[in-house]
Symmetry: D2
Subunit: 337 residues, 4 copies
Amino acid sequence: MVVILKEHPNEKQLENLKNWLGSLGLEIHTSTGAKHTILGLVGDTSVVDIDLIKALDIVEEVKRIQEPFKNANRKFHPKDTVVDVGGVKLGGGNFQFIAGPCSVETEAQICSIAQSVKKGGAGFLRGGAFKPRTSPYAFQGLRAEGIRLLLEAKKETGLPIVTELMDLNQLEYFDDIDVIQVGARNMQNFELLKELGHLRKPILIKRGMAGTLQELLMSAEYVMAGGNEQVILCERGIRTYETYTRNTLDLSAVPVLKSMTHLPVVIDPSHATGKAGLVRSMSLAAAAAGADGLMIEVHNDPQHALCDGPQSITPEAFDALAENVRQILPFCQYSYE
Amino acid sequence: MVVILKEHPNEKQLENLKNWLGSLGLEIHTSTGAKHTILGLVGDTSVVDIDLIKALDIVEEVKRIQEPFKNANRKFHPKDTVVDVGGVKLGGGNFQFIAGPCSVETEAQICSIAQSVKKGGAGFLRGGAFKPRTSPYAFQGLRAEGIRLLLEAKKETGLPIVTELMDLNQLEYFDDIDVIQVGARNMQNFELLKELGHLRKPILIKRGMAGTLQELLMSAEYVMAGGNEQVILCERGIRTYETYTRNTLDLSAVPVLKSMTHLPVVIDPSHATGKAGLVRSMSLAAAAAGADGLMIEVHNDPQHALCDGPQSITPEAFDALAENVRQILPFCQYSYE
Amino acid sequence: MVVILKEHPNEKQLENLKNWLGSLGLEIHTSTGAKHTILGLVGDTSVVDIDLIKALDIVEEVKRIQEPFKNANRKFHPKDTVVDVGGVKLGGGNFQFIAGPCSVETEAQICSIAQSVKKGGAGFLRGGAFKPRTSPYAFQGLRAEGIRLLLEAKKETGLPIVTELMDLNQLEYFDDIDVIQVGARNMQNFELLKELGHLRKPILIKRGMAGTLQELLMSAEYVMAGGNEQVILCERGIRTYETYTRNTLDLSAVPVLKSMTHLPVVIDPSHATGKAGLVRSMSLAAAAAGADGLMIEVHNDPQHALCDGPQSITPEAFDALAENVRQILPFCQYSYE
Amino acid sequence: MVVILKEHPNEKQLENLKNWLGSLGLEIHTSTGAKHTILGLVGDTSVVDIDLIKALDIVEEVKRIQEPFKNANRKFHPKDTVVDVGGVKLGGGNFQFIAGPCSVETEAQICSIAQSVKKGGAGFLRGGAFKPRTSPYAFQGLRAEGIRLLLEAKKETGLPIVTELMDLNQLEYFDDIDVIQVGARNMQNFELLKELGHLRKPILIKRGMAGTLQELLMSAEYVMAGGNEQVILCERGIRTYETYTRNTLDLSAVPVLKSMTHLPVVIDPSHATGKAGLVRSMSLAAAAAGADGLMIEVHNDPQHALCDGPQSITPEAFDALAENVRQILPFCQYSYE
């Protein structure tokens, strides 16, 4: 961390600052120029509250050199994290499809889709039971009953389940769920993240619509600081001025995140674009960019899906897409370790 | 609501659609052009899930004419909502300052600031007990103890308290809190909003960093749909590409919101800009734009605030600012009723 | 085009509106609902100035159904445009690499890079002679001399040249340039676009940092309206709140543009990311998404490039990347015709 | 400028870097920490191409302390610039209204509006002759004839004229125009800016839709580097994800720019919001924030304006607004000198 002081800092305040930084266990290297004095801080600066220093009268600017995340940081943990759910592996060279409907509707629906996507090569079944909806008057998901139906589908197909938790009070229903999803709107629901840090179960965190990549990693850090090291990151589009697609899928997030962290990174092209017609191209692009997996909405009857139908593809389209992704994967290998 | 059909829609599907819309109690007016057929839907369309219709093969586009919010809608409730906390009124021509430190630190600190801002004309005391922080390693607030100190300050000064709730599990501490704040990161924490709808206590909802004005109103609608009609909206800057200020304060939100809804609108210039030096100008601008109140960070020792110091102003600066705002308010009157 | 009228429109004004629309050669279909009257306009609405109608007192909203671009519209020209420069084809299934340095520096430099990228499979040589730089104190390019050196490189290698024109007064130097590039900052320099419409030479238009896809197509339309139908579109990243990459590469622009227009679409991963380390992954992703070509910065000595060095890759890296792209292309085929 | 080196920099490369920096006339202060070596550069760093240094293998990061603009920088020119057009002063405490129609339509129209806004207190007449329009099929302005009509209105009223130049080839018509406007889409049309630097006539530069405040100042620097010191900056809304208003008016730009530069700052609430109903509130807010002037669209018949009608206000509304602004100005004084 580099602290750039204003011209002619108050001597007393400067001594106070140095003493305080020293008390945090940091070594201080002072460099005095014609106008500006610069303090170089050496040691574990991830514990330093950067705002506290910026607040000081005598400080012009503070610049981190080290990233403020530790557990999620590839520099300290070079080897790829592999999330392993009963033998289904994600990350570290293991590519996975997480497929299923936006919302769980009926037992027949979820079981039929589960069978289909399993045949197409999906490693995980996804499906919404607790649904975050902008309007209080829109369908809110089958909730606890939806979880029950997902577990039925798991029993039938053996596919591990990924589904969203919206509030800590719903946690009681998630005992047999394999991967807990934290939605984009909850990326910075810090109380939720802290609590999930006490579980020993994979957590898939979606990037918020205005979330920076560093903030996404800090949210992963919240979970990991609690001791839960199985975190999966998911890019699902960010909010920009362009309105043709629902959100703007930021695929450069894949190589950037992979270089910053050892955690697996998956892409959700369905929510990002909001259009079924763009799912195949964005899935291929995500795989080509080095993603560890894809989260794809599949519905056996997209015309009658209870929500988000326009972005769901049919099981047949999923089969073709998955086959296509498998064809290009061998040519799209990267090493970040 | 207007549904624009694709060319040559399948007759059977069109009949199905019309039957379904009719079953929702909507009247349908069909207009057949050379290329496109248009359905005009008349009735209470706020219950219609627009995505369901968009999903249909035969539909080109759907356009709402009515807004999807009812309780918050000025069209249905033309008169300004006045939030009244033990005689301290906000909205409907009653301008209020909500002032206090970013974080509660000690009893001496919060009581001293409370005395100061009361003298300066503040109607409410603000202060963070539960603090949302990007890093798990940063100071997380005094939490329950912070709430206790806020209530001490209330006892001493009589000022009603505004403070943030981050999770439903913290609700037990908020019995004597006067206004519950929902932070920007929780604007779309729908389970939280639903639960707050069952209280009979004012809820101040901050606009999310990527929240549209309509989404903010939909979040208010979540609370109001539960029967709690005392909602205050707060603009605190949105995330844009400009990095000079922490966020970009969107002051046009004031007249836009005031025309769309009867709920009071307050502005938080401190968080929006992240710079104490911009608080006075943005406060005057907010008042000039027609805001119902200002939420301002005041600290008796900004240099040693435990968080967000750079944006706090001193009690003396607050006094001057408040006086200045009172000078221009008489010239900045608007009528939206 | 659909015009939604306000409730109880003034009869006289409505008649005026209908007469005016009729005078533009449009057929009008009126649909009267309980609250709103809707006018459906049939005919060539691309000539209608939508703002003129929105301005009217009696109009609630206007909604285009047809896109406002004609020459660039795939609906009217389903077949892919193929840009052919002396046998080097781009578009319609012909994938091309446009490679070269950010800036032309010396004859030795540009000729050496030209030889290298030709060997690696590039179909076009790119290089900046007139350079748009944020600072008036930064290197502004070799200008006319740079053009001369590019033409030397063309003579030596036979590679057609793509280079940027910043102002009409520079046009005199571009006689022997094969493809004229309009930079992102000039995407809406309408006078420039109009003039380029009078040439019979391919124009590559880069999407502006805040340009929507529709605006990009309208800029292409400016060129095409002048009779010049050889337009290439280039996505090079848009400006968002994320600062880790220089811009956010919007790869969904590829399938979206390809479905809206018959013009070729190329991707510039170098400028979009601003980081050499991201060029390979974003190039593969672009090819996988269905782009018609890649525009890549290659420098034989990126450490000493006169500008934008951090995003340039070496000729060796370009060779490997190009080979890699060719491997996946056969699996990433799309049909939009 | 602070250059942070990577760990274990190559000795030879480091020596090269130091020699080169020395050759630019900079003093170098080296500070060696446990991990990172930091070079503090002292001297006129505005001539240093920051990208050149960032490009070096041994460099981790470069951080400017001084801003890269000099002529526009308040640090070097603390006193407010006052633009004086034949006695009509703008800046340095002189507030001005720049009012008039979006487009010049007829002599009667422009003269009538000019008379009206003069009576209402406008110091300048604005009106578009050369109009930048997204569509090549939309009305492009009366062009040279429009300039002629503006000069007629000037003759009649004595009001100095502000109007937009879109291309250098139009410059011949601008001899008698008092203030040349550079539109948002041309903010980074560097060739245009350079040429305007050779004039001795005020240039009003609008912030681009994706322009940062620093980029706006760099564009002013382009003009000033040519010796033309009369530059007026104009904020007119930036492009964000919020679509309710046409753009998002960034009023914090006023105090930020005023602190960074001595140049006058005006606000255009008409284009920013795109809605006549928001012009009064945003005008008052801009004045309250400390703007030096307002640029407002006024039309005597907004219902029949040839373009941008929805955001024009009537002369009567302008009178009331101007009166209202004058009432609050005495209470909204700031000092940045």
